[in-house]
Each structure stands twice: as C-alpha cells, then as structure tokens.
Subunit: 422 residues, 4 copies
C-alpha cells in the first residue's frame, strides 16, 4: 500500500472511530434527565452536561480553531465556560461553579456537539489530514474516553447523595463465588517500562526506560468486599498503627468508617451502585477506596501496594482483557479463574492503587503550548493507578497507561491488588 | 347572615384564594427550565423545584395529615426531603444539599402539587371547615407567598452567577427622574405597634403593645442608586469609620466593594436584574444591600436607620400601595410624587432595613407544636425589615409585618430608608 | 468651696484613683509567670502582657499625646502593637497574633507602665487639669477596669486548656446551701432607663430616656449549678425544640454538651475555676454560659430572659452590693438571703444575659474622633449583659451599665436570671 | 582490642557524645527568654520549650522506661504532654496546642532535662550497655539533633512574625561575590543508593539497593538570591505555565509573591534572618522556598529538580563539608570555589528539594513497636530533601540522609540545586 492510500485508510478509520467514540458519550448520557445532567455534587465532580460540552470544546479549540479557515467559534462564551484548566487557552469558569450553568441547556449543548462533529468531519474529509491533525483528533478521542469514565463516576456520586438512592440504569447483581487469593512471583532485575512505538499513548507514558526491580510477588486477584469487610470488623478503621499519619488525620477529620458507598440498611451491609443499592456482594472487588484505605488494608494484610513498575512489568505480559465498560455491568465482578497461577483482573474491574507517586519519567517532555498542560502539571501529590476499571472503555487502556488521583479521592472505581517482597 | 352561612361564605373565599395563590406559584415557576428549577446557588437559597415541593409539603403535613381520615402520604420520602426546619415533624434533608435532588423530577413535583391540591380542595369541600382548619390553610397560603418571593430572589441569585447573565424574563428598564429627598417629621410619644384583630397576621406581629418613641423624621423615599453610587465614589467602602466593626470585617474578608448585583461593563455601571443586565438606573432605589451596607450608608449620609416601631408608626397611617409583584416589573422603580410631604414607597419596591434586632414582642407566645417553629426560633442575630418589595404579593404585607434577615444577607430586595432624630 | 479648690480636690482624688486602679492591674498580673502572661489561648482572648500594655497605650495615646508638649512616644512601634481597634489612631497589630509578641518582654512592658504613669502623674500635677482632661483620665481608668476583668477571664481560659489544670491562685470552695428560687413582681408602665448626671458613665448608657414595660417578674436569685445540671440530665442539650435555631446549629457544630468549664472526673462533675479544678458546687450560680445556653435553659424552665429595661428598672432601686473582684473569691458564690422577697445577686457574681440586642439608645451620639470607636461600632449582633461579676471591680458597675458579648461567647462569667410575664 | 574493652570504649564515647549533644541543645535555647521559648507560631512549628522537653521525653520513654528497674516517670503527665506522634506510646497533647503549655515552666523543663540526663548517665555507667541500648541512645541523640534544627527554624518563624523583627542573636551579613553557575555531568547507569554498614543511619535510608539512572547534570552550586530575584522581576510568580497546578492554586489562595522571609523596606529587598532583618545578599543561596517555588523556578530556568538517586550518586563521592550549624552563621553563605568543576554546597547551607516523593526503599521494614513510627508513617505526599543546611549539625548528615517535608512548607532552610538531562 502506498503512502496516500495508507493515509486515506487511516483517515477513514479515524472518521469511523470519531463517530464511534462521540456516539458512545451521547449514549452514556442518554439515561439522564436534564436535571441529572446539570447538577454538580462536589468540586471534584462535573455535571454530565459539562462533560458533553468540554469534550466538544476540546475539538473546537485544539482541532478546529488552528485548522479551519476562516474559523468562527460556535459561541464565544464557550471558550471560557468549558475550558477545564488550560491556562494557555485563557480564563476558565471556576471549577466549583460548573453546576451553576443551567444555561446553555442540555439541548443547546447537544446542538453544540452536533455542529462541532459536522465541522470536524468536514475537516477530516476535505483532504487527507496530515499526521499532526490525526494525532490531535486521536488525542481528543482518548480525552473523550477519559471523560466517559468521569461522566459515570460523577453521576454515581451525585445519585449516591440522593436519599432516594436512584439508579442510573436497571439493576443487576454481580454474583459468583470468590476465588482463593494466590500469589504470583516475579524475579526482579532491569525491566523496561513506559510506552514506545507508533500506537497512541499519553505523553506521561514516555519515554520508555529501564527500571531496576527487586524480586516481588503480586496477588492473583483484587481484594474483595468480603476481605475488606473483615478489615472493618477487626477494627481496621480504629487502629492508627495501620495507617499513614496523614491518612489517620484524614480519617479522623472526615469520620471515615467504611468505603464511601457502603451503608448498613436493616442490619445488613449494602453498596450503592450505578444500578442503585444492593446487598454487599462478598466476592466482588472492593472499590471506591482512597489511597489511605488501600494502604491501611495492605498493612493489615501483611502486604503492601505494588510499585507502578512492578505492576507494569507483570501486566505487559498479559492480554488487555477484563470487565470494562463494554460489559455493561458498570460494576466490578468476582475474579474469573486464571489458569496457571496467573494474575487475573489486571485489566478492568478496578483501577489499582500503586505506591508510586505520579512523576515524570526520566527525559519526559510535555508538548509545547496549551496542550502540554494535559498531564505534566499534575505531577505532584498524586498516586498512580493502573489497569482501568469497569467504567473504562476497553480500547482506552494498556499496560503502560498511567492514571492518577490524590490520596483522598474515593469516587473513582479504585481498588487494591496486594504485593509483597519475594 | 347566620353562622353557617358566614362559614360557608368564608370557606368559598378560602377555596378561591387557595386556587389563586397556588396557581400564582406555578406561574412564577413557568419561565424556568428543569435545570433552572433544580440547581441551588448557595446554602441560603433553594431551588425553585424545592420551593414548589416544600410549600406543598406544608399543606400535606399540617393540613392533610391531621385531618384526612385515613391519611396516606403522597410519598413517604417527601416527609424528610421537603421538610425545611421543623424538628417537631422529624428529620430534614440537609439545607445545603437541596440542589442535589435531581429526583424527584420537576414533573413529579408538579404532580405532587396537583394531588395535594385535589386533596385539600376535597377536605375543604367535604363539610364546612372549622376555624382552626381555615386558619391553618390561611397560614399555608401566607407561607406559600413568602416562598413566591424567595423563588424569585433565589432564581435571581442563581442566574446572576452565570457569566451569560440570562434573564428570568423579557427585559424592561425602570425609568423616570429621581424625586428630591425630603423629610417627614413624627412627634414621638406612646404608640401602638403590632397586630390585633381577626385578619391574618403571623404570630411574631403579636401581641399589640405600646412603645415609647422620641420625636423622629423619616426620608420621604428610598435611597436611590445614584445616591449609593456617590457613596462608592466618595470612598464609602474604604472608610472604616463609617462601618460597624463586624461590618468592616465582613467587608474585608469578602472583599466587598459594591452592591452584589452591580458590575462595571465597558466602563459603565450595570445592574443584574430578573430581566438580565441593564445600565444602572440612577433614580431607582438601591437594593440587594446588606444591613452592614445600609448602616454604613446611613452614617455617611449623617442619618440612621429607623427603628421598627418608628417605621410601623409612620406606615400604619398609610395605604398599602406600591410597586409589588403584581406590577410585573420585579424590580424597584423610581419613587412617585407623594403629595403633602408624605413618605412614598413605604410599601413595595424594597424591604427596608430597620435598626431593630428581631425579637419577641412583650407577651409573645409561639403556637404549640411544630407549627410554633415558624417564627420564634429565629429571634436572634437577625434584623427586622419592613414594607415588602417588588417581589412581594401585594395582599401579603401590612404595616405590622415583620420580615427578618441576618446582617450579611444581600440576595433579597433590601434597601434603605433614612431616619434621623427630630 | 470655690471652683479652684474643688478642682484641686477633684484632681487629688483623681491622682489617688489613678494610682489605685493602675496598681490593682499590676496586682492581678502578679501571680503570672512571663509565660502565662505572654500566651494567647484564642483570638477572642488577649495575653495578660497585652492587657498591661494596651491599657497603658490608652493613656499614652488619648491623654499624653494630645496634652504633653513636646510629646515623644515611649516606643513608636507600640502605637501599632498595642492599638486594639481604633482605626482613627491608625493600624493595629492583628488581634489573633497578640500572643506572638514575645518581645517586648513582660519586664519591658512593666517599664512602659512605669514611665507612662510617671508622665500622667506629672501632667495631672503640673497645673489644675481641665474637665476634659479629667474626663479622659477617668475614661482611661474605667477602660483599665474592664481590662482587669478580661485579664482574669482570659487567663482562666488559657489555664483551662492546660491538661495540668493549674490554678491562678490558691484554692477555695464556695459552699453554702442553695436558697429557694422565688419571684419578685414588677408593675410595668413607663420607666426611665439610662444614665444621667455628673458621675462617670460610658456613652452607651446615654441618653436617659423612657421605655414602656409590661408587668413582669424576676427570679430572686441566679440559676444555680444544681439547676443547670438537671437541665443536662433531662436532655436539655439534646432537644432542638428548646433552642434557638442558630443556637442549635452552634451546639451541633461545636458538639456542645455542657458548660465550657465543666467536666467529669472519676464519675463526678467538676468545674475549672481560677483556683483550679473543684467538684461542682450545686448552690453556686452557673456561669460561663453562652446566650444560646441561657436562652435554652430559660425555655426549659418555662421562663425567659429579662429585657435590659426590665433588669435596669429592678436594679435601679437596689444598692450596688455583692460578690465582686474585691471579695477575692473570683468565683460566684451561693445567693445570700434577701429580705422581703427582694432580688439577690443583681450585682456581682455573674453578668446576667438579657434578651436585648445591644443597640443605640434613642438620641445616642458617640464622641467625635477615635475615642468615639469605644462603644458605638459594636452595636450589632451582640446581646446586653447586666450587673457585673465576681471578676468586676465593685466601683466599676452600676444599674445602667451595659456590657455586651456575641451569643456564642462563653469565657466570661455569664449567668442566668430568669424572668417571666406577670 | 577484646570485646569487653571495645564495648567499654564505645560506651565511653557514647557517654561523651550524649553530654555533647544534650549540652548543645541547651546552648541553642540559651538566647531565648521564657516567653520566646513558650510561644507557638503555627501548628507546624513547636515552642523551644517543647523541643527541650520532647527530646528528653524520648530518652525517658524509649531508654529509661524499658531499662530502669524500678522505673518511675519524672512526672506522669509528661507522657502525654510531650509525646509528639507515637500512638504506640499512647495519647498525645494536640500538636496545635503545644504553645498553650505555660506550665510546666522553662525552669521546670530544664530540671526535667537534668534529672533524665542523670538517670541516663547512671544507666550507661552501671554496666556495659548492650548493643540494643547503645543503638537506642544513638537514635535518641540523632533525634535530638533533628530537633536542634527545628528549634532554630521554629524560633525564626516566631520572631519573623513580630513587627519588631527581633534577632535570635547578634548580627552578621553573608558577603562575597556569586560564583558563576556551572554544570557537572554524570553518566547514569546502575548505581547504589541507601545506607549500609555499622554506622548509624535512620531506617528510611535502608536497605541499600540499586537504581537505574539516565545520564544527567547537576548545577555546581545552589540557586542564589540574585537569581531568584530575577525570577520575581520577570514575572515568575504571575505565570501559571511555570507552576504545577496544585502549586498555582496554593500561590493564589495564599497570595504568595515572594519567599516567605523576603520583604521590601524603603524600596529595597530585605531578608529576615536569625540575626534580624538584612538587605538581601545577592550571592547567598535562596532559602525558605516551598517545593512549588523550587519547581517553578527550575522550569523557568529551563532545568528541573534532581531525583534523590541522582543527588545521592553525586554526593556519595564528596566529603561532608560545608556551612553547617557549627559555623555559627545560621544562614546560608555564597558558594566557595569548587576545584575541577565539582559541585559545591552539596552539604550544608540549604536542604535541596528533590523531585522524589518520600517513599519506602524496596524491602524497607520499620522497626517493631512504637519506635517504628519514627519514619515510615510519613511516607506519603512529602518530598525528599538532601544535604543538610546551615542549621544542621555537621555530624548529623550524610550522602544517604533523607529529609522530607510537604510541598508547601517554607519555614525550613530549603533551597534549589538545578538538574538537567545530559
């Protein structure tokens, strides 16, 4: 295949993918009323309407504005309203006030999406887009997939605060027995971590480089609700020696005594899910845990959290399979049997906290300009999570993928894989 | 007319009034989208949907529940969700989280209103209601009128925080020249204040009693935007000697430099109104002022705020006329000519801050039970406002009516009438 | 006696009084170490050293500076360091940082007192001071007496936070049986309140004017610890219907369950006093109560707090006698027998909360200049207390004296006298 | 030398060292008045008196209590009062209230030191102490040296908040020209980091292990005041693109515009030092910088902060020489000439921020029991600093030494060494 052909093919695939990802966002928002889509439950979370608009703003700002000639914004006020944190683009509507934007309406935001989609499609069709344009559109689609997951976790948080405990959609219950916890040994040595090659990856996954590992072992599955319940029942939330000092202060100040979506109803433990409240499923992975809770649990279990290099070394050898958003569960499920003592659930189900602070790889360079604000400026006081969750699109994640959240964050699908020195 | 006839007549009037007041609330909410009606802009303000539900809850809880046999609640969860502050009724959904209730939807709340209205009507029709029932329904209607005003001030606050500066409804501009400020003298002595007689009044207006006044004078109209602008231009917000000590701290901490809805656009002062942003109208009364701002302005002007007894003494002799919600302006208007040096604008346009702390009249007794929580438990650290505003229903207010807000409140239509010792 | 003689006599008395009051302040600070005198326990309280310096600053600033020729400040930095809140004098060291001033040392502050005393004495001796100067010195002495009381309440608060529960000075225990609670009726009508005449009074006690009272009754003594304990035991701190709405919120946020200096030690109630911790004395007046606690107790007791006019009307007929600072107890004592059903303990023992918000009397005019900031600018969101306490100098208080504190203040000797409608 | 002899010799050296370190603490506190030694300027800082007591408590609790037979505490209340954060020992007096402890007095705390010293000496003399005891005493002495530095930085913070800008001791001014900034290249590869061997080190420096480095370069000296001033003058504090996102929020919320001890006086930049205020010395290292400021400066300079492994690799080859507490300057000095392009100032002058989050080395195990709380529980959301400062005792630090502080901390002698990829 010659270069123009390859280019045309790639463009065709990109157009297809653009339609697919953008439609998926709309589908995720479909069960929400105008009210559901407008309200913001806390400064960390954003309204669904805002996600719909901001992902569109990303394409308008970073794809249309530098490429369309002449360019006119859909609405000049959107530049500020839907800018998340790009100082290079200009002012931003205050994050904590995203929920006050009852106007533009959800209908108007859908129309905004329609218009930008049309213009992006036109841009891609006009003539074979160059590699830089294709890269920007691809970045925008991966950006949109991140917001698909946030849309789900943010609406879950909002609905959880409603005493009616409403469901995002029809009920289900993850069932099945818990598999016994095993350990898989790894030998250590110099290993390669990070991304390399032509496939898409975020800049924070680069450059690929060597890291030195000591021998270690990983648990063959995620920590389950049943195990976490034992931690609670044996006083895990009341023993300061299990906690990091800052974690203990956080626990005391916020009077934390259980995972954020757990509650007792008529004497039995329940869990709030995107399908409403359900009795706690002991075999399902424990999720919505802060780093502090994950770390305390690991200490209680006589183990520790893995480093991100350990995790990546183990995961790089495994296929990207698991319980992702596509399963439709939108909730973690009990671990399947993994043949030969391999680690199950490395991908999907729950983001796995690592003990690694989110920082730049040796030689890391953010992109120039506003787009360089995407990842680099958050590299402090956050910890890396790996593997994707039940709310992550399957084709969005890979072994080198680095997610990151502050240590107190609990509204994401965050869980625990234990590690220990071999 | 014999007693049964009078009772039937009264019941008929009450039914008519019930329909009228309830419909008016619905009309006020009509311009709002589902999103507008759901969002809460600050803990002090409530969503329009919540106002629609809470006023209905009031009738369900205080009228239907003790009178209907058998009684079944429309939805048991509403008892908590829409209870504002009645500990005697039970738990309350946290005030600051009223805006998180995306469910029940606006449509469901409207259905809630329809059902309760039907049941109240049935109750009133069944047989001649006794005086106690008529009093409760009347209280509920006056309660609903208070929420009609809050619905307007709360939606105004919400829209004001949207950078698009959207209008609640179509534009208008109060025009007309400013009348010169005059003074009307009053002689002092022993005067009667408070309510007496068969007409409805809140319990905080009773008992009627004597107060001793020294001779005083009241300004013949409200302070205007033009006058308040001069206060700003002459440094009123920068001179601590004009302010109460607590007011100055409030000003510093919140960096207050102008009335809450004033802003400068392209070099000119503007004001946000329920019809969107407009150039500041110099002859219109200055509104949305805190007690602290009102007090500082009065000191700057060499005057003071009136006491509530002074105000009531002056107003009791005047008809209840003015720019009320019925005018459709929903914004204060320049003072009309008042013949014979009388005080204009005593009613309507703006609630007038008095220097009187909100407290119990001698011999005051709140009603027994939960309904007694209506007024009495707020009698501390709030100041009395008199006369109603452009968002108050005309037949809701009277000379003895006591409104009250904390000293820092600014989102109500609160203005200034100057007083001085004679 | 001719005018020059009278002036000389008055000057002599003033010099004597100056020495007496200033010495008394030093005596009160004598038991304190340098450390005790330096530390600030909360923003509301000031270090003893700061009281020693600020009262001296008052004489330097308001007496010496305008009268000495030439005038040179003892130390130019003191103008800011020891200015409490007089904007008319200039900048102020931040209130919450008074405890950070380890320099100047206590020794240096004592030297500051010595020098200013010498210069004030010289000024008074030089030639017969005019009435204005005598008035300023008298104001300064009354100001100093207020700080004598604050010095005691502030050191009490500081020591109370030390787990060692140290005593300000040697122990004592108020003993004696509780007198039965009686009621004294008053007839109401037009009464005179406020100060008039040549004797010293603060500007906030003027002008004398008429107030209209309804018939009322006052309890013949203060509420005792034993009575307040019953309030606790019967759930007074757990029943929202007893509390003002803002009081209940205050109670919840601060998890208040007992008076601030009460605690349980080995199963028995104790009270922290200026002589350290002691078993609770049931017959002694309950003190260190907030307005909210006082108001809730009164409601529980089926009574109310008196208005300040009621209190003053009752007190004006009684001699200023009681348990003042001079008794050396520095703690309230059980009520003595009061012959003929009169009210005991009107003066001394505990400041009595009134239901009256602190506001200007009709015709009140603050003095011009910085000295006018003394009282007027605090006339908002505070409540009036009457009668003086066991920490007040006997000759400092009178029937018309108005003390005032915010509703949540608890570190003063504040107690409860019940009132009711007759 | 046989084992008993060696043991005796080691004990003799330990006794000598004990006396030396303990005396040095007393010498550092000598210039402070009782007031200086008692006050706490912020929750992060402790009073000097508390440092004197807590370091003594450490010996009493971890050395005397398990070894003396019979053991009786000097004062049972000290167990709680002077416990910093050891949950394994029991309750702790709240950190933010250390400054409220006006009792025990400074004199009593000095007596506490004398008694514990006597008992520790007796214990060491009784018979040859075993290795475990020697290790505990050595840990206690290294602990005490850490508090020697904190005593200096805490008193500096306290004095800096006094408008009189008092000096801890007599003045000096670091002088000398600034050396040109050079770069020293390092080759990367697998390097050894961490401590190994019989000499004392904290547990967080172990185990020694391999790390993989890419080629890098380090600046040959610390960043100077002159260079940091240029950062300010070129708008460094106003350009969000230079800052980490959390750093920019921190800067905005706290309105940070300059290093914490810098100020402008009569148009010229000054710096507050332990010898009072001085004109800013351009050649001296910039100190008291937060991680956020250090990181922003590095980005502005086109460089980055070193990792802790890079720093240790460079420092391990160099002697531990520099401007330490023993120099008596107690302030960083201009860099000396370093022959052959070597890095100067690696030790002393200023703690150097690294980009490395403080975390456990592979295989790290905290000691069992309360003593294990020393380091491990702080391994989150803090960043590693290396090399010691002008307030660190010379024999306290080494190449493997890991200090750590949160990213917003500014009251330590924290500075910047630039790094870059080679």
């Amino acid at each position: 295949m010659n270069a123009p052909d390859r280019s045309r093919l790639e463009t065709g695939l990109l157009q297809e993918r653009y339609a697919e990802v953008r439609d998926q966002t709309a589908r995720l928002a479909a069960p929400l009323s105008e009210e559901d889509a407008c309200v913001q439950s806390m400064p960390d979370a954003s309204p669904a309407k805002w996600h719909l608009a901001h992902t569109t703003w990303f394409f308008e700002t970073f794809v249309l504005e530098p490429r369309e000639r002449p360019f006119a914004p859909c609405d000049p006020s959107f530049r500020v309203l839907f800018n998340s944190y790009y100082n290079g683009v200009g002012d931003q509507h205050p994050r904590a006030q995203r929920g006050l934007l009852t106007r533009p309406s959800l209908t108007e935001v859908r129309e905004y999406r329609r218009i930008v989609d049309e213009r992006v499609r036109a841009l891609l069709e006009r003539d074979a887009p160059d590699a830089a344009l294709r890269a920007l559109v691809t970045l925008g689609l991966n950006h949109e997939q991140q917001h698909q997951e946030l849309l789900l976790t943010d609406i879950k948080h909002l609905l959880s605060l409603n005493p009616l405990k409403p469901a995002y959609r029809a009920a289900f219950a993850p069932a099945g027995p818990a598999r016994a916890l095993g350990w898989r040994d790894f030998g250590g040595g110099l290993v390669q971590v990070g991304h390399e090659g032509p496939a898409f990856a975020f800049d924070n996954e680069t450059p690929r480089h060597e890291a030195k590992l000591e021998p270690f072992a990983l648990a063959t599955r995620l920590v389950t609700n049943g195990e976490f319940l034992r931690f609670i029942e044996e006083g895990g939330y009341r023993q300061p020696e299990l906690w990091l000092s800052e974690g203990w202060s956080w626990r005391e100040e916020n009077r934390i005594e259980r995972p954020v979506y757990w509650f007792v109803h008529e004497g039995a433990w329940h869990e709030f899910t995107l399908s409403g409240a359900h009795p706690l499923a002991p075999a399902a992975p424990a999720v919505h845990l802060s780093y502090f809770e994950a770390d305390a649990f690991a200490r209680w279990a006589g183990a520790r959290l893995p480093s991100e290099a350990e995790w990546e070394h183990a995961a790089a050898a495994r296929p990207v399979e698991g319980n992702f958003a596509e399963s439709g569960l939108l909730h973690p499920a009990p671990a399947p049997e993994a043949p030969g003592g391999e680690c199950a659930q490395l991908f999907g189900d729950a983001w796995e906290w690592t003990r690694s602070s989110y920082s730049a790889y040796p030689g890391y360079r953010p992109a120039p300009g506003a787009i360089g604000e995407y990842n680099g400026k958050f590299m402090v006081n956050q910890y890396v999570l790996r593997g994707g969750s039940c709310a992550t699109p399957r084709d969005h994640v890979r072994a080198s993928y680095r997610n990151f959240f502050p240590t107190a964050a609990r509204w994401q699908f965050t869980g625990i894989r234990l590690a220990r020195d071999a």
